[in-house]
């Protein structure tokens, strides 16, 4: 029956992957019941349109957030009964290729090269600080989780993402160690880090308080900007309440380089404690922070070009 009917687009999904020659790629797959005609139109560096002929949308029209560091979102639209448009909105310029995969369901594969992103991170050193450790447990959830444990997988995911992007990413601790703030700052200094990111969860006596916040040192405009970018992208990615950006009043950040403290979620909120048990938030929090760093480095790079 699929050969008789009008093709229908049933699904869209994406992944970040390595190519056969080691390239770093974003891939989007448009699945449909049958092949259809398509053509690619590059509007500008940030917008790509794929016009599809003789195909109907079987999935909802509208925007789908991707936020994979390169592709911000995809918008699907049924233009008329015979044509559909797929608009890709990019955060950075990228080469794009289309391929068709003769599988069932049929797949239109959109491949975008993430090398611009890699150039942005190349040569950068990021010090990632999984806060607390050892006897210093940090905040504690109502059931059982401890801040010192839950920040570690997020730190490792962030480290992997940054390393894949070509940055040097170093952790202040690799195990359950209780190390002083001074030792952490010295490590950052030794590594000549460009950025210092301290990973925390918020703790509050009021268990209704929830969400993410990012703190910065008020003596640095760079720290303020970095905090703003990270907070925006983090909340977008993990979809928790936005507790905002605020000045850090405790001496938990180094003053010699742009530094922020990211409170990923609130461990004393029962729902967010359960979130922290899962792999999804560990991965997504790292992706959100990565996207914030991307925005920070991109703006700094364009500032350098202007000056």
């Amino acid at each position: 029956m699929y050969y008789r009917k009008v093709p229908r687009i049933t699904n869209l999904w994406s992944k970040v992957t390595d190519g056969e020659k080691g390239e770093w790629l974003s891939k989007l797959f448009i699945e449909s019941t049958r092949p259809f005609e398509h053509s690619l139109i590059r509007v500008d560096n940030e917008v790509i349109i794929i016009r599809c002929k003789g195909v109907m949308l079987n999935m909802p029209e509208g925007k789908i957030s991707i936020n994979d560091g390169l592709v911000r979102e995809v918008c699907l639209k049924q233009d008329n009964s015979d044509s559909t448009s797929i608009e890709l909105f990019l955060d950075q310029p990228a080469e794009v290729k289309l391929a068709t995969l003769e599988v069932f369901p049929f797949r239109l594969e959109i491949t975008l090269d993430r090398s611009y992103l890699a150039r942005l991170f190349s040569g950068k050193t990021v010090m990632i600080d999984p806060a607390h450790g050892g006897k210093d447990t940090g905040g504690q959830g109502a059931v059982s989780l401890m801040e010192k444990d839950v920040v570690m997988p997020i730190a490792i995911n962030l480290q992997k993402a940054l390393q894949r992007a070509g940055a040097k990413a170093v952790l202040t601790r690799n195990g359950d160690e209780d190390i002083s703030a001074k030792e952490r700052f010295e490590k950052a200094s030794l590594e000549k880090a460009d950025i210092y990111i301290s990973l925390h969860t918020h703790a509050c006596a009021d268990s209704r308080v929830a969400g993410a916040a990012t703190k910065y040192l008020a003596n640095s405009d760079d720290s303020t900007a970095l905090a703003t970018y990270i907070q925006e992208e983090l909340v977008k990615k993990i979809k928790v309440a936005d507790r905002g950006v605020a000045e850090e009043l405790e001496p938990v950040l180094p003053v010699a380089l742009p530094a922020v403290e990211v409170e990923v979620v609130t461990i004393t909120n029962i729902v967010e404690e359960v979130f922290l048990r899962g792999l999804t938030i560990q991965k997504r929090a790292a992706e959100g922070i990565f996207n914030g760093l991307r925005d920070y480095f991109a703006v700094r790079q364009s500032d350098l070009k202007v000056n």
Binding site: M59, F104, K239, V271, F275, T280
Partner: protein, 214 residues
């Protein structure tokens, strides 16, 4: 014989919708008699208003105590979801399940808690167990799943199943219409074509050989 699978992305399904209408809307031009429509159990439950916000649940002492026992990544890890489980089957039956689980462990057996307390407890999704925006809800298993699949078959002509599939390959068929070979079906669903939270495909059409070749 199934020869193809079509995962179908949908809008966010809410308690304001009839799941049969939703399935008909998304499979009307795709599924035909001979095919099987598989629906994720969580969206059926959500459409039935069985997603509960934690603010509406007051956990008792038993729930606070018991939520420490499921594994770190297990379901029912919060006192609120444990309380919902206790309410779902009653305190007596719940405690019998706990006793059975304790005895079972002595003999190295697993799964006795759900066998005694009730299979429906295994279908409760804790916070973060369901896709956004229901990730802050506790989602119970669907009510009358057999009635739902029978209505879907009547509306679409295709066979229907409600399945609970997870990312580690465990498939639980909650209900199926008469023409479904459950054993065969599990092999087609065990890699979770419903997808994780990034892939909002709660409906999957399993296409029969005769419909593929037409």
């Amino acid at each position: 014989m199934i020869t193809g699978r079509i995962p179908i992305r949908t809008h966010i399904i809410t308690e304001k919708e009839d799941i049969v209408d939703v399935v008909k809307k998304y499979t009307g031009e795709i599924a035909a008699p001979g095919d099987i429509i598989a629906i994720a159990e969580s969206v059926v439950a959500i459409s039935q208003g069985r997603a509960i916000l934690h603010e509406t649940v007051k956990p008792g002492l038993l729930a606070h105590f018991m939520c420490r026992f499921p594994g770190k990544e297990g379901s029912l890890a919060a006192p609120h979801s444990m309380q919902v489980a206790i309410q779902e089957v009653g305190t007596g039956r719940f405690l019998l399940g706990v006793a059975a689980a304790g005895l079972g462990r002595l003999f190295g057996r697993r799964g006795d808690f759900y066998r005694v307390a009730g299979r429906q407890l295994a279908q409760i999704d804790d916070f973060a167990g369901t896709m956004w925006p229901f990730d802050r809800h506790i989602v119970l298993g669907p009510k009358d799943p057999q009635g739902v699949v029978d209505r879907i078959k009547a509306a679409t002509g295709a066979e229907a199943v409600i399945a609970d599939v997870n990312d580690i390959g465990k498939v639980d068929i909650l209900a199926a219409t008469g023409g479904v070979d459950r054993e065969m079906l599990c092999s087609y669903l065990k890699d979770n074509p419903h997808g994780n939270d990034d892939q909002q495909t709660p409906i999957v059409v399993l296409v029969s050989e005769e419909n593929m070749d037409c």
